[in-house]
């Protein structure tokens, strides 16, 4: 294992974070808040430490899959740990572990909060919380690949991108890593600006529009007021419903559209499945709400679409307290928590493309039972899914369930009701934010013990990095010396 190269990458990440911390510092100073200085101080500290590490550029730059996974996990841990410091030193969040929970929730685009009253937080703190969604959405390592000439022309940085980007298979958009990463960030930035403009037109203040755009783009979900999205205009809700859906789509789609390969873009079956699931879920919830007599009284049709879009893309904004909806609607929402968004998007969850593989693999296996000699390949978009990818996808599900079960057991020690315990883990490991019961849209995560919070922090990181980097990082055999 090339530790000096890993340290170098983490050093680069620290430098980038230091630069990003200047933004909330500026917002704080603009609003005349003393807490802005805390960001400046932490930025200076991070820059200094990062510089010390980066200046010792490693001689041995060899870098393989294992280093990529470890560097990714470590970068995210360090980034969250540093990002949480301003909350603690200004006393806005008194306990460091709470601050860390909030920050991990931010970077992993979960949006689960331990804060009781958002209105008591300074503007710069709110901004940093939401901004962390935007950074975490596309990933800081991808950003690094876009701006730093890391390892030059070798292919080693592909391991970093694979470790950070979601989906069963990750490939570059264009031959050069740097331009691929730049494309991704370009698309990301463009869509975000469009969203911001439309929210401004919808009547939001610039500050709210910026923060909520960050949450939408990263599919995060931190609001700026306790009532999340309920108080905004109809237009803002419609715009956000659509943009959450857009950010939950595979970014390859936008790249194909830019290249004017419309036919290929239309053929992306993951997008079609994704939209089908969206329409099915919102349709049945609408019918269910109408049957229960809630529609028109406590909830409008837009609320159903908004909630489905918000949960499915794992954003976690709420216009109404869907915890008061009938059981069927709530179960649909829990189901789409797991399906999640598309691979290659900023969303979380298990991902639609994995479910496509599960579905097709099961139907292939059933067919093989009826026709034991049939030879058949599993295909997605006309391309064969390799056996290795399929195995990896199934193992992913097993590890996912194992972590899920273990987390639920530990959380159960806090002795909350089963719905709360179950959905608290679902809402964090899928990077959504609100669950049901005490962690529903109207509640929050402050009631859990610190042990449970640690478990949830792990779950959020595992969910965002798609489990493997974090598991490999904590595996003792990774750190053993090997020949």
């Amino acid at each position: 294992m090339n530790l000096s190269m890993i340290a170098y990458i983490v050093g680069c990440v620290l430098e980038i974070e230091a630069a990003l911390l200047l933004l909330p510092a500026g917002i704080g100073l603009l609003h005349g808040e003393q807490t802005g200085w805390a960001f400046l101080a932490v930025a200076a500290g991070a820059a200094l430490i990062g510089l010390i590490v980066v200046l010792r550029r490693p001689k041995n730059t060899s870098f393989f899959a294992r280093e990529g996974l470890v560097a990714t996990a470590l970068s995210w841990l360090v980034m969250s740990a540093v990002g949480a410091i301003p909350f603690r030193i200004t006393g806005q969040i008194p306990h460091y572990l709470d601050a860390l929970f909030e920050m991990v929730s931010g970077f992993t685009t979960t949006g689960a909060s331990i804060l009781l009253e958002l209105e008591r937080l300074d503007k710069c703190m709110l901004f940093w919380r939401s901004f962390s969604h935007w950074i975490g959405g596309m990933g800081v390592l991808v950003f690094m690949l876009a701006i730093l000439p890391l390892a030059g022309s070798s292919g080693q940085n592909l391991y970093l991108m694979r470790a950070e980007s979601p989906g069963p298979t990750v490939d570059k958009l264009s031959p050069k890593m740097r331009s691929s990463a730049a494309w991704l960030y370009g698309i990301y930035l463009g869509l975000s600006l469009l969203d911001f403009t439309l929210l401004m037109i919808g009547g939001m203040t610039a500050f709210d529009a910026a923060c909520l755009t960050f949450g939408t783009a990263g599919t995060g979900g931190f609001g700026v007021v306790g009532s999340s999205f309920a108080g905004y205009s109809m237009m803002c809700k419609v715009v956000t419903t659509i943009f959450m859906l857009l950010f939950g789509m595979n970014f390859n789609l936008y790249y194909l559209l830019i290249l004017r390969r419309f036919r290929d873009a239309l053929k992306m079956s993951e997008i079609r499945w994704y939209l089908l699931v969206f329409l099915f879920a919102s349709g049945t919830i609408l019918l269910n709400l109408r049957g229960a007599g809630i529609l028109g009284r406590d909830a409008q049709p837009i609320d159903a679409f908004f909630s489905v879009s918000s949960i499915m893309t794992t954003t976690g904004y709420a216009t109404v307290d869907f915890d008061r909806w009938p059981t069927y609607s709530r179960m649909i929402l829990v189901a789409i928590m797991f399906s999640g968004a598309c691979a290659g998007s900023t969303g979380g969850g298990i991902k639609i493309s994995r479910f496509m593989i599960y579905f097709k693999a099961v139907s292939k296996e059933l067919r093989r039972m009826a026709h034991p000699r049939s030879v058949r390949h599993l295909r997605i978009d006309g391309k064969r899914v390799e056996d290795g990818t399929m195995q990896n996808t199934f193992v992913y599900l097993v590890v996912f369930v194992a972590i899920y079960a273990a987390s639920v057991l530990i959380l159960a020690l806090d002795d909350f009701d089963p719905t709360t315990t179950f959905t608290a883990v679902a809402a964090t490991i899928n990077n959504i934010g609100p669950g049901l019961g005490r962690v529903g849209p109207a509640g929050n995560f402050s009631g859990f013990s610190y042990l449970s919070k640690c478990v949830l922090i792990f779950d959020m990181l595992a969910g965002r990095l798609e489990i493997y980097p974090l598991v490999i990082f904590f595996l003792p055999s990774t750190w053993r010396k090997q020949a």
Partner: protein
């Protein structure tokens, strides 16, 4: 520049690596998933799985945005077809590898009809390289600069050589400026020499000599210059076939050892004047019987690199022959160098040199293109030939010592209207000159790049 490479074999990979180092965007196409995965994991390029002769696959690889397509699969037919499709579908520049001698005979026709920008044939290039080495047997390497009519020779300084212990100034005065030392290698270190650089027995040096002076210079250096009259070749592949053709044209006798009887029949039919021996070239008995100990030159050109290396070591032990080894596949150039095999020919590198030169010229608008390019010593040194065009006004008419040339860059030779000048600091470059430059600096595309 966007470049598509079809075929992920040894030549394809070498090309992808070299061109990526020159900062081009490379997409590589192959049907073998594992090979593709390995390539994409090792360098920053994109891989597309599929058959490069399929239009759909080419489009997926971005042929519509590509500037150049290079087809280097194992099959000539596939290469030509891939080029044809790319040319018709996207109109990009195309380069094909064609190595089957029966296609290569009509290569000008094929090139014209298919619209190929360039045809590469590593076996043909290797045969030419070996042929040049056989003409100047005392050299380890011979590289030719056709425009300026000079050759670059590389040889090792022997203990009794007049060069032993001399510095550059002394060497120059001894040879009257007819030879310029442009690279000195000592224990793996490469030096572009200055006036005070000293030479020692055991050093390997590369020198530029005008073609007409070669015989005279070799005589002064007490190096053997008797032309070789007969050659023994182990292995009867395409390289051997091309080489035999070249050698026979200049009246050299060739003896070929080939273990495959069918191949022997083919060789005997196509090369009636050559002596074709059916036998395993790694069999000592056969080598003795066919007279290896008394051979003038021995070329190891079987299809197996390890076998070639063994044969070369054995031949150097039992005979005084000039030994030339062909290495196609294995990647340990520094180890091979340490084995002191004498002359080694790497077909894949010769091919890559030509394509890199072509690509540099394609990407260079000002017209002062590299005419000839050699990447020497594992790519650490480049030797280039330029024609000075009017657009290179920035470097013409100024004395070289006042020009502010890049560090570790040497102007080795100026051909001014047929007269070859070995330049000193007092000389100038003029429009119409043909110059040869040797440097360790990377990525020189234009004559204007030679100044700091």
């Amino acid at each position: 520049m966007n470049i598509i490479v079809v075929g992920c074999g040894k030549v394809g990979l070498t090309l992808a690596r070299q061109l990526r180092q020159e900062d081009h965007a490379i997409t590589i196409i192959d049907v073998d998933k594992d090979r593709l995965e390995a390539a994409v994991g090792a360098m920053d390029i994109q891989g597309v799985l599929g058959n490069g002769t399929s239009h759909r696959v080419l489009v997926e690889a971005g042929v519509e945005q590509a500037d150049l397509l290079i087809a280097v699969t194992d099959h000539d037919e596939q290469n030509m077809l891939a080029c044809l499709i790319a040319k018709k579908a996207a109109g990009c520049q195309v380069i094909a590898r064609v190595r089957n001698p029966s296609y290569y005979e009509d290569i000008d026709f094929i090139k014209g009809e298919l619209g190929l920008s360039m045809v590469i044939n590593p076996e043909w290039a290797a045969a030419q390289d070996i042929y040049r080495l056989l003409q100047i047997p005392s050299a380890l390497d011979v590289d030719t600069f056709d425009r300026s009519q000079v050759n670059m020779l590389r040889f090792q300084i022997q203990p009794e050589s007049p060069l032993d212990g001399k510095n550059m100034m002394a060497v120059n005065s001894m040879l009257g400026g007819r030879m310029l030392v442009c690279i000195r290698e000592r224990e793996g270190q490469i030096v572009i020499p200055r006036g005070s650089t000293e030479l020692r027995a055991g050093d390997k040096i590369s020198v530029i000599i005008p073609r007409v002076e070669i015989a005279a210079v070799l005589h002064r250096l007490k190096l053997r210059q008797v032309p070789i009259r007969s050659v023994m070749v182990a292995g009867g592949g395409s390289t051997t076939e091309y080489l035999t053709g070249l050698l026979q044209r200049s009246g050299v006798q060739v003896k070929i050892l080939e273990s495959n009887m069918d191949r022997c029949e083919v060789l005997a039919e196509r090369l009636p004047k050559a002596q074709v021996i059916h036998g395993d070239s790694t069999d000592r008995q056969i080598l003795q019987e066919e007279g290896l100990p008394n051979a003038e030159a021995f070329v190891c050109a079987t299809g197996i690199d390890e076998e070639n290396i063994m044969l070369a070591l054995y031949a150097a032990r039992v005979s005084g022959a000039k030994v030339i080894t062909k290495i196609s596949r294995i990647d340990f150039e520094e180890v091979v160098e340490d084995l002191n095999l004498g002359s080694v020919v790497y077909p894949k590198n010769i091919t890559a040199e030509n394509i890199v030169r072509f690509v540099r010229a394609l990407g260079n608008a000002s017209g002062n293109n590299v005419e000839t390019l050699y990447q020497l010593l594992d790519g650490r040194v480049e030797a280039m030939e330029f024609v000075v065009q009017p657009s290179a006004a920035a470097v013409t008419g100024i004395k070289l010592q006042e020009l502010g040339l890049k560090k570790d860059l040497l102007v080795c030779c100026i051909n001014r209207k047929g007269k070859i000048i070995t330049p000193t600091g007092q000389d100038t470059l003029e429009i119409g000159d043909i110059v040869v430059i040797v440097t360790t600096a990377k990525g020189i595309r234009d004559l204007g790049d030679i100044v700091r």
